[in-house]
């Protein structure tokens, strides 16, 4: 920033009381209509989860984790459980693996539906906010039928899952999927083919694959550049059932700017993600094996873990979600737990992506990365 520009610069706080800033704030330095500097501030949501985890047993831990991101609760609690299971060296029953995978994908769909709605509201079309949210209700109904809770599900547990599918759950899940499949073309029309949506998102926040990786972005933000970077394929997990399914990592084909992605590509990517998740659930539903949902011996083994370290990773809705766990001998609680939320990087990278865009586009840049404050504040 040259000195003469700094004289004209105005500082504007975007948040924390702004309508669109729900639990975050960014200090923008604006010259005219253009943002020259962005300083995102974190900490408005901080609940010191990592310290709290040191005082919770291995079965209470997932409950803390799922509160990091209520929208993808099934996914958010999994890396912790994965780390615990790695240290204990247990394998969960076949049925639990399939149920976990199904519910994680359902959670991903639900989270993305929420995001379509939120992004549309930020762009001013409230109809597209509420239509996916009506469909989202059906997934919430399924979660409620399965676990008794709409958001704080605490479904998985070290050694298996806590709730079993019954006829009612299957029926509700099927209904939710059917409804979504039926409405997907409509949503695509509303978003991807809308001329005003294209005007607002094409060419906004364009970044390349190499650049984004250095800033720590992952998940759909990277996949939208045309790179199939997905932990579901790259990091085979013993206790999940992705190997039962025939599927491909969805990537956007964008011939205009190969290796790069703009806000529009990321929206397309998130539609592909939902289609893939529907595909995975549809293939897994007939393959649910009979058997127990939890292995009592494995579960008992996680009361007290041996000394060890483990790194649980899962491909969350928003990117690579990991928990690093260190235990001491015979301890009931972790010695240290580190949560890596995918949005920590995407929120921080606003510093890099925002300068140069207009003030009106700031919320488009922010929204296109699908950040959730719980993940960076923890």
């Amino acid at each position: 920033m040259s000195p003469d520009i700094r004289d004209e610069a105005v500082e504007m706080w975007f948040g924390p009381q702004h309508v669109s800033a729900h639990g975050w704030a960014a200090k923008l330095t604006v010259v005219g209509d253009f943002i020259v500097e962005c300083d995102p501030h974190a900490g408005y949501f901080h609940r010191s989860a990592e310290k709290v985890l040191e005082f919770r047993t291995f079965k209470q831990g997932p409950l803390v984790l799922e509160r990091m991101c209520m929208l993808e609760a099934f996914l958010a609690e999994y890396p912790y459980i994965s780390a615990v299971e790695q240290i204990a060296g247990v394998e969960v029953p076949e049925r639990a693996k399939v149920l976990r995978t199904i519910m994680m994908e359902a959670s991903r769909i639900h989270s993305l539906q929420f995001w379509w709605g939120q992004f549309s509201a930020e762009l001013g079309l409230f109809a597209m906010t509420l239509w996916p949210w009506v469909d989202r209700e059906f997934f919430l109904d399924t979660f409620e039928e399965l676990t008794g809770s709409r958001h704080a599900v605490s479904f998985s547990t070290p050694g298996g899952v806590r709730y079993d599918f019954n006829e009612k759950v299957l029926k509700k899940l099927d209904r939710a999927l059917q409804r979504l499949e039926q409405h997907l073309p409509k949503f695509k029309d509303m978003l991807l083919r809308s001329p005003t949506f294209r005007m607002r998102t094409k060419g906004i926040a364009l970044f390349s694959y190499e650049d984004a990786l250095r800033w720590g972005l992952s998940g759909p933000n990277i996949k939208a550049c045309g790179v199939p970077m997905d932990l579901r394929k790259d990091w085979p997990d013993l206790n999940l059932a992705y190997d039962l399914v025939d599927w491909e990592v969805p990537v956007v084909d964008n011939p205009d700017h190969p290796g790069q992605s703009d806000a529009y590509d990321r929206m397309v990517q998130r539609f592909l993600e939902v289609e893939t998740s529907i595909n995975i659930i549809r293939q897994l539903l007939p393959q649910i094996p009979e058997g127990p949902i939890v292995d009592p011996k494995a579960r008992a083994k996680t009361n007290r873990l041996p000394a060890g370290e483990a790194y649980g990773r899962v491909e969350g809705t928003r990117g690579v979600t990991t928990v690093w766990l260190k235990t001491t001998e015979k301890a009931q609680t972790p010695y240290r737990a580190k949560i890596r939320g995918p949005c920590f990087a995407s929120y921080y990278s606003l510093k890099h992506l925002v300068p140069g865009s207009t003030f009106a586009d700031f919320i488009v840049v922010f929204g296109s990365l699908d950040p959730y404050p719980g993940w960076w504040d923890r």
């Binding site: 310290k51 800033w215 990091w235 790194y311 690093w324 920590f344």
Partner: protein, 172 residues
């Protein structure tokens, strides 16, 4: 020489380039290496060269008590499916290490968080303001094991006091 494609090859190449780096566990897709504190910048630069399209996945501290700390860096490469863990041992009341945030800008906030939570200094870091914690907590390091999250010790933190509980008020 062909670029390394497996965890063991990556570890071998890193150890060849930087004597002093030790591999202590190579398992599956993961290579875990111990790095002397002074060499961290060189090693991270080598990781940047060796791992194609490396993602700086995570970086955090661990308090081992008695003024011993560990820093753990994770790098993931989708191209060759290798996860590299670098481990640095630190000692001292408020130890210091070189910042690597100019090599991987994605680690800047991770280092900032580690600084406020553990009191580990990062030489060359542009911005070490508290990230998640309120400004009143500067100088207290909550993720150290010596920091007890105890209601009785709240006065030390300098944070505004919550109202006393009802029963306590009645007792008085």
């Amino acid at each position: 020489m062909a670029p390394p494609t497996t965890p063991s090859e990556v570890a071998a190449e890193l150890m060849r380039r930087h004597p002093g780096v030790e591999a202590h566990k190579i398992e599956g897709q993961t290579a875990e290496l111990t790095v002397p504190a002074g060499m961290i910048r060189d090693v991270v630069k080598s990781v940047d060269e060796l791992l194609p399209h490396a993602l700086p996945e995570s970086m955090f501290g661990v308090d081992l008590q008695d003024d011993r700390y560990q820093l753990i860096y994770y790098f993931w490469s989708h191209d060759i499916r290798v996860l590299v863990q670098l481990r640095v041992e630190l000692e001292g009341e408020e130890p210091e290490i070189d910042s690597v945030c100019d090599i991987f800008p994605g680690l800047e906030w991770h280092e900032r968080e580690t600084h406020e939570m553990f009191g580990i200094g990062f030489r060359g870091h542009p911005d070490l303001r508290p990230l998640l914690l309120p400004d009143e907590l500067v100088g207290k390091y909550p993720l150290r094991k010596s920091f007890q999250p105890d209601r009785r010790r709240l006065a030390e933190s300098g944070l505004p006091q919550p109202r006393p509980r009802r029963q306590e008020a009645n007792k008085e």
